[in-house]
């Protein structure tokens, strides 16, 4: 029924998420397509693939990221191993963000009250969010399926692999739906759900890397995807697990939702507190006070992965044969032949993390403007340049701290295993995360000065595009001048690779020019609300 409240609300929620859904769909399409063509190009013959399987089947570093391979002799089997490993995590992120946005954020903003004041039951409102998430899941499935078919894989197997790839979406949407009932705010709901996802990922990593822990794979939705074995003796019945868990989670969320007061969460927030007067001396101090929790979460997340990368770095490097080295070179990861090289490779992800962090800080600054709190600030004796400069300093300081922690903790992890790495080198690796991060921060600031409402999307979009550019470029062996457009290609992966001083300098110069222009333009434009 086209005119029913359910369909109207579901359409609204679906449309609300369209930019995020489309970005993920594009990521899925190109990511999956690149895997098919990449493997076909890198390992064209059966002999190549047997060699690859022998060398990679047991490599713990590779298993850490992608899980256990089951059949590396066919392109389908290879893709069926790679996609569930990483894309499934992105799928889970889409699911949890979508659910928190459609449920908790609607209550946060007060829009849910307006809807529920009309002739709409809570069940209908909840069902509309669920329908919108299912529709989005279908879009993501389609993107994966089309990419695999375009990559010349069998239609039936592609359909199943795509299904396996998105099977984490409803599960983590269910998790987000439940945390949306527990938490009193969008921020806390997202944080709780992300914590559950991190835990599920950690369990999968242990299952795939620790000896005799195979059974643990059944304990995490991310492990189930591996057990579906797409293109490697498919086991469709495993799909029942995410299906049942999703229904249970959504059922629990719906049950809580219809019983509690609208606008509240089961976890009560403390709304009264004695004054704490630290960090109230300037707008920048207040911003630091507001962002402290976020920074700590970033430090904890990056720190944990840095320790893991450090700990396994030595065993990865020492177990490598000449054959593996050759294979790795072919896959564009030639530096992963020593503990330092492996950690350097890991820093590619820490660089990405730091770039995303500065985008998040830019987003927080823009949020203050959009919410019109900036009007209150600038009506005080506070200059525009000073305010924005303070925000940028905070972003850079946070980025530097994350880079530093990544360096120190990966060193500590490696040193605990007796690996031969120097603290100075890894501190250098931490500092090496800054030029790309500053580049994106500078470009984002320029966007904030010119097109405030689109600036945050542009900043995230640039980071995502650049990273995908490098990923695809390495797989399809694009010409150097094409690949050099991505900062992720130009940055030297210290300490395994030499520090690229020229590239770093170019990035810093662009960052400084764009950032200065952005601040100047921001100071000259009208403030822009949401």
């Amino acid at each position: 029924m086209a005119g029913s409240p359910l369909s109207a609300l579901a359409r609204r929620a679906f449309a609300d998420a369209r930019v995020r859904t489309m970005s993920f769909a594009l990521l899925f399409f190109f990511g999956a397509y690149a895997q098919t063509t990449g493997y076909r190009a890198a390992a064209p013959t059966l002999a190549d693939r047997i060699e690859f399987a022998r060398n990679f089947g047991a490599n713990k570093a590779v298993r850490l990221l992608y899980g256990e391979p089951h059949d590396l002799l066919t392109v389908g089997g290879y893709v069926g191993w790679r996609i569930p490993g990483l894309l499934a995590v992105f799928a889970a992120v889409w699911g949890l963000l979508g659910a928190v946005r459609a449920l908790r954020a609607e209550e946060d903003s007060g829009r849910a009250e307006i809807v529920l004041a009309g002739p709409v039951s809570r069940r209908t409102n909840f069902a509309a969010a669920a329908v919108a998430i299912l529709a989005g899941t279908a879009v993501l499935w389609q993107a994966l399926f089309l990419a695999l078919v375009a990559g010349k894989l069998a239609v039936g197997g592609s359909a199943f692999l795509a299904l396996a790839g998105v099977s984490a979406v409803p599960v983590f949407a269910g998790v987000g739906a439940v945390t949306s009932q527990l938490a009193p705010s969008k921020r806390v709901a997202t944080g709780l759900a992300a914590g559950v996802l991190a835990f599920a990922f950690a369990v999968r990593v242990i299952a795939d890397t620790a000896d005799g822990a195979d059974w643990l794979r059944w304990a995490t939705p991310l492990g189930w995807i591996e057990e579906m074995r797409p293109f490697a003796g498919e086991r469709p019945w495993v799909l029942l697990l995410p299906a049942v868990l999703s229904v249970v989670l959504f059922g629990v969320a719906a049950t809580i939702m219809v019983r509690r007061d609208v606008g509240t969460g089961l976890l009560r927030s403390r709304d009264t507190a004695p004054p704490r007067l630290a960090l109230l001396g300037s707008p920048t101090q207040l911003a630091l006070r507001d962002e402290r929790g976020v920074l700590v979460a970033w430090l904890a997340g990056v720190g944990a992965f840095a320790v893991i990368f450090g700990v396994i770095s030595d065993s990865v490097a020492s177990g490598l044969t000449e054959n593996v080295r050759r294979e790795l070179e072919r896959f564009g990861a030639g530096s992963v032949v020593s503990a330092e090289g492996f950690i350097g490779f890991g820093f590619l992800f820490f660089i990405l993390a730091v770039c995303v962090f500065v985008c998040a800080q830019l987003s927080a600054a823009r949020h203050e403007e959009a919410e019109q709190r900036l009007e209150t600030l600038l009506a005080l004796p506070v200059s525009r340049r000073g305010w924005l400069f303070g925000r940028l300093v905070l972003a850079v300081a946070g980025a530097a701290l994350i880079g530093l922690v990544a360096g120190v903790l990966s060193w500590a992890g490696a040193a605990s295993q007796g690996a031969d790495v120097s603290l100075a080198d890894l501190l250098g690796a931490g500092a090496n995360t800054l030029p790309p991060a500053l580049l994106f921060l500078g470009l984002g600031t320029l966007a904030l000065g010119v097109v405030p409402r689109a600036a945050v999307g542009i900043a995230y979009g640039l980071v995502g595009t650049a990273f995908l550019w490098e990923l695809l470029g390495s797989l399809v062996e694009a010409p150097e001048w094409v690949r050099t457009l991505s900062p992720f290609h130009d940055v030297g992966l210290v300490p395994g690779e030499p520090f690229e001083a020229v590239a770093a300098l170019v990035m810093l110069v662009i960052a400084a020019v764009a950032g200065a222009a952005g601040v100047a333009l921001f100071a000259r434009r009208d403030l822009a609300g949401s």
């Binding site: 927030s269 709304d271 004054p275 109230l280 707008p283 600030l377 600038l378 009506a379 525009r384 403030l527």
Partner: protein
Amino acid sequence: MNAIQTESLTKHYGTTVALDALHLSVAPGEVYGYLGPNGAGKTTTIRLLLGLHRPTAGAAQIFGLDAWRDPVAAHRRVAFVAGEPNLWPNLTSAETFAFLARVRGGIDEPYRDVLIERFQLDVDKKVRALSKGNRQKVQLVAAFAGRADLLILDEPTSGLDPLMEMAFRETVREAKERGQAVFLSSHILSEVEAICDRVGILRAGRLVEEGTLAELRHLSARTVEVTFEHEAPDLGGVSGVHVVGAGANAIRAEVTGSMAPLIDALAGHPVVAIESREPSLEEIFLHHYDESDGRVAA
């Protein structure tokens, strides 16, 4: 030197003219009421006065300092209450006061405590748990306790209950007694009538009327109600008289300018009662909106 002085202040957003050649002056110690319906340009004016938006033409000065070019110096003498009370949700009211006071560089603490008492604020409550009215009270306390020379208030009482409205009026009077200037944008005509020295009425980006209340009343029509013993005569042709309502033996008319033509016309008719009163601000206000574009004051 005037607290506020604008010269041909103009703002366009794309092709929309939000404010058209505004000439405005507010003296120190003056309470100025700025009236206009939604979308007339009141908030635009305030954003220009605070240097938040850039004038398309003309300029605004705050105590002689250019609002766009020299905002920081100007704002040392200004306190602002925003129409949307968006504060920092994780701070308590006490923390908000501390923050705003430190950034402003000082606050009259004893007076702040008086205002907290007067506006009945629970200062340990986090802003996110406050209603709109209470958040507005937080802004008002912070603004008035700062003892700024100029207070710019954008519809500050739209969320307040009648008791708090009275507290607000008392606070404005105290500010005036201290010589502070107040620029009050408002919808609430009774409030403006009660506390403002001068009033400006804005319509579609233009100042259509300005003056003291007495001046505005003088310029506008008086309302006269005449009751007759028998049937009311036809007064339609009398100069300066506009009949707005008629009953069986009574009429209501608006009279502009001198009353003499009406008195002459009534001579000889059996008049039982005449009631004449000055127009209320509401009538003056509606007079400017009803006729032209159909927009009615909210």
